[in-house]
Subunit: 217 residues, 2 copies
Amino acid sequence: MSAPDLSLYLVTDTAIAEAAGHTVPGVVAAAGAGGVTTVQVRAKDAPAADFLALVGEVAAALPAHVTLMVNDRVDVFLAARDLGWQVDGVHVGQDDLPVEQVRHLIGDDALLGLSASTAEQLRAAADSPARVDYVGIGALHGTPTKPDAPEPLGVDRMLALAAESAVPAVAIGGVKVEDAEALRGSALAGVAVVSGICGAPDPAAAAEAYATAWGAA
Amino acid sequence: MSAPDLSLYLVTDTAIAEAAGHTVPGVVAAAGAGGVTTVQVRAKDAPAADFLALVGEVAAALPAHVTLMVNDRVDVFLAARDLGWQVDGVHVGQDDLPVEQVRHLIGDDALLGLSASTAEQLRAAADSPARVDYVGIGALHGTPTKPDAPEPLGVDRMLALAAESAVPAVAIGGVKVEDAEALRGSALAGVAVVSGICGAPDPAAAAEAYATAWGAA
């Protein structure tokens, strides 16, 4: 498994997409065309059967060069892989299964991402005997999409944490296009976006704007 | 894997146990001593790390002859098994991962239980190419513990469905001690209890009362 391109990382949110008149597979297809390089399917409250079906729809909608991550549910990832769908790995938070268990279940070839919000969590990710492929550092700003998210870090603290991280890092949490400009050229490997793309009137145009701001277009 | 003894099947409910002044591992230890033969750990809203930890505590609290099932999360079951804990299988509902996927992930040696509430679902369980080891038929009565539960069946419909099931079946959903008496000697392999044990002042005594009513004591 080669290193994923994390430069523009989309996290799906079904409620936000639907409130903007979109479907999640529709957002993913548009954002893939617009320059998104990695997609994480997230559906924390969906029953597993619905989540698995959504992962299948997203895998089918996504250009093959875009990396596809499954949030939290290792079993949904394993089932999707067993079904022959193009899924690349699992992203977990600090309250999800421990990374040692996740790595053992998914094997060495799959990608493993971890949410982290403190220097201590970043060190633990780097020092873990289980390989963590990247971390999502957040939250950059306060955000309505993840009510359980940690305290906002702001741009300066985000850049300091990214510089300390021995693991490739993306910034997440209310990232706007102007944030992508402010963060580029730093130690960050990319920016992760939820509502800025899922909730945009034109998700393809929104993805293009982020990609341009990050200098990846 | 020999056939599990389903005669008195406890499903844990953390909120009900704690409201009665208990912990889930405490309830399980007491109910195991009182005659419970199978335990399903259920924690639908818990983060996976907490659910895994709870499964470990229950496995440690449970007499070795009692069968231990994990609700919904195949990955939590797999992680628990990898950790060397004594877990026997996974119980899924109609909205969880499809039984074909679950069976593939857990292997032939693990137990697979499925919730069913209609004759059609019972036939599907029996006809599935993936082996389903037992079904939980519900709900017997309306119950506050599972707001998303299907319509109450009542005793007569429960007995008719159990008689039609080609797979061993337990009754679930507000099962009281007097229901266990009314249902024994039928096609049912056992009764499943949530609040009648988790919420009892003395879970060991409650388990004994159910076991006696079922004729298993």
